[in-house]
Symmetry: C2
Subunit: 372 residues, 2 copies
């Protein structure tokens, strides 16, 4: 294992939201400086040793940035791939820009998963309204039309129901290249948050069970209420994905647990929904509930350091960890959260509580008295 960074060195982070902020805080604990590069004033800037606010295609700002750091990572997958590729010419970029090529494009992601032998929802490529009609004929309704690029938190997607006009539907997403996906009838949404080190070492956290509301993650409970064989299979698929991407860092794989029997006679089956090549909202519980947080783990991995332990604190059958997002006005409950001795409050330093904006989160280590 090569230690590509030594304490006192600087990690450059592309993106300055709450994920960049929590990465910067984790880096600081390890004696590592952080330089945030972001296209607008953002929460991570105020906890970083340095920051640059400039467009992602500002060549001069990028050149100065790359000269000031020892290696580069990113906090979200929608930074322009050419930016990452250009930076990688003169600096270590981890995870590698190849990962962005897969994860920025839903079609490329589906093709990658199929090639890796990992199950995902049936899909078809949709480049125009005619292709949408052909896809609907094959996949049926309801189905979900998703733009290939720049979708998150439910943006860039629409459900195609019975009676919907297909030309109107296609135009409603801006007429851009898309895919049509079958609706998967699922019993649970889970995610696997895991890390792969540069030497191929792999470590997963306990499986997360997620509840979404208006397409935004509302809460996560760990461990997920799934049978052990499903948990093992979910980690195995995540491991396959990480290896196939030659991944370095923390990634999260969102999956549906379906109750449809598969050919192998299993009572449950898994269906990968999305790969997030970064630290992930469903892993925030690790800040308070695991020996190594996902943020420290990502810093360790991209620095070429050994991975930390992923064990959950108080990991008994009688306990679980619950993470709840504070979205929009919900952040106004902060003083109530502070008064609850079992709750850990995290706020991201954002000024405006716009609807749908993630303002902070709360973690609770819960013991079920009946099981003690």
């Amino acid at each position: 294992m090569s230690l590509d960074l030594i304490p006192g060195g600087t990690i450059g982070i592309l993106g300055g939201g709450q994920l960049g902020r929590m990465l910067a805080l984790a880096a600081a604990r390890l004696g590592i400086k952080v330089h945030i590069y972001t296209d607008s004033a953002s929460p991570a800037c105020e906890v970083a040793a340095a920051h640059t606010i400039a467009p992602y295609d500002d060549e001069r700002a990028l050149a100065e940035f790359v000269n000031s750091v020892d290696l580069i990572t990113y906090e979200f997958e929608n930074i322009p791939a050419p930016t990452a590729t250009k930076l990688a010419e003169s600096c270590l970029v981890r995870p590698g820009p190849n990962v962005l090529g897969v994860c920025q494009d839903r079609l490329a992601e589906k093709e990658f998963l199929a090639a890796a032998g990992v199950a995902a929802a049936p899909y078809m490529r949709v480049d125009d309204a005619g292709a949408l009609a052909r896809a609907i004929a094959q996949i049926g309704r309801p189905a979900i039309l998703k733009t290939r690029r720049l979708g998150y938190d439910g943006k860039g997607q629409v459900v195609v129901r019975e009676g919907a006009d297909l030309a109107v539907t296609f135009r409603s997403l801006g007429g851009v290249p898309a895919i049509l996906e079958a609706v998967v009838p699922f019993s649970k949404e889970i995610s696997v948050v895991a890390a792969r080190a540069c030497d191929g070492a792999f470590a997963a956290y306990d499986i997360c069970e997620n509840i979404h509301k208006n397409h935004i993650l509302k809460s996560t409970r760990v461990p997920a209420g799934v049978p052990m064989d499903i948990a093992v299979e979910a980690v195995r698929q995540t491991h396959i994905i990480a290896d196939a991407l030659d991944y370095c860092g923390v990634l999260a794989v969102e999956m549906f647990v379906t109750d449809a029997k598969s050919g192998a006679g299993q009572a449950f089956a898994l269906c990968v929904n999305e790969i997030a090549p970064r630290v992930h909202n469903s892993g925030h519980w690790t800040l308070d509930g695991a020996i190594t947080s996902q943020f420290e783990q990502h810093i360790r991995a991209v620095a070429g350091w050994p991975l930390g332990a992923t064990e959950r604190f108080v990991a008994s059958k009688a306990s679980f960890v619950e993470m709840e997002n504070l979205i929009g006005e919900e952040v106004n409950s902060w003083s109530k959260v502070l008064a609850d001795p079992s709750a850990k409050l995290h706020l991201y330093g954002k000024e405006m509580a716009r609807p749908g904006r993630k303002m902070g989160h709360v973690t609770r280590l819960v013991k079920e008295p009946g099981l003690l």
Copy 2:
């Protein structure tokens, strides 16, 4: 309880060392901005939203500082008391400047403890060599001569042994006002790290057992290996001290456990060595081993927020937490620490590993297999 600060507000911190740095990181998690005021470039600056580097008596810099913050605290007790008093005229300063008056002067501290009814080592005031001779006649040798002001980590003190020339000894500390203290034969050194909220609420962590080397804290083990009645008494004395100071924030009280029988027939007795009106090195374990770290606890207290839970993680008879300082060159073991899955590494971002300089620390949650 008045919430004197709301998320998004700014806490000013006097002092920029590792304690200020860890306070700033804790504040950031709670969505609070930090403005560090320090007289030289220091580790806390690079994780704070703002910093000022100026002498502690620079009136203009202080005026700008006070205008930029909502309240002020400090990370060490040797900031000039007039600075704190001046700032308190126009801003909340917590803990109050009265605390500095007591804790900056060993004589005032001894008199305060005596008035509070808390046992400390016998002492006498020493203003000149003649007074030293009179004090030695009463206290005997060996005894410890300590400057009244600006001592820490063994600086500003000397042991007066048999045969030592008293005039030379007095001059060796610079001829400044001092006290002579009896040597207390102790079996253990412990500390109580606790917090008092502005409304008088009080919460202590488990007792810390400390090992010093060359007068510098080397390691802390929690819980301390002392009988329950000693632990209860140590917390009681700390509570008395905090109340008597009308304290707001985290404080640490260092004590000796002696095996001399007291008049009350106890097998052990306690003797207060020093009050630290701030977060304390022996409380660093709380970052990894307690629900609320001492740094978050201090931020909560000075913000007028309710105190957090002080419970230790995995608090069973079979487990303890160990904190070891990385002093000077010991920091070069960082990569070994990273490879140990039971260890949590903390580095302070200091550039030069001078002998005696605290560069970082390591925490381990240890389970004794024999006791499981």
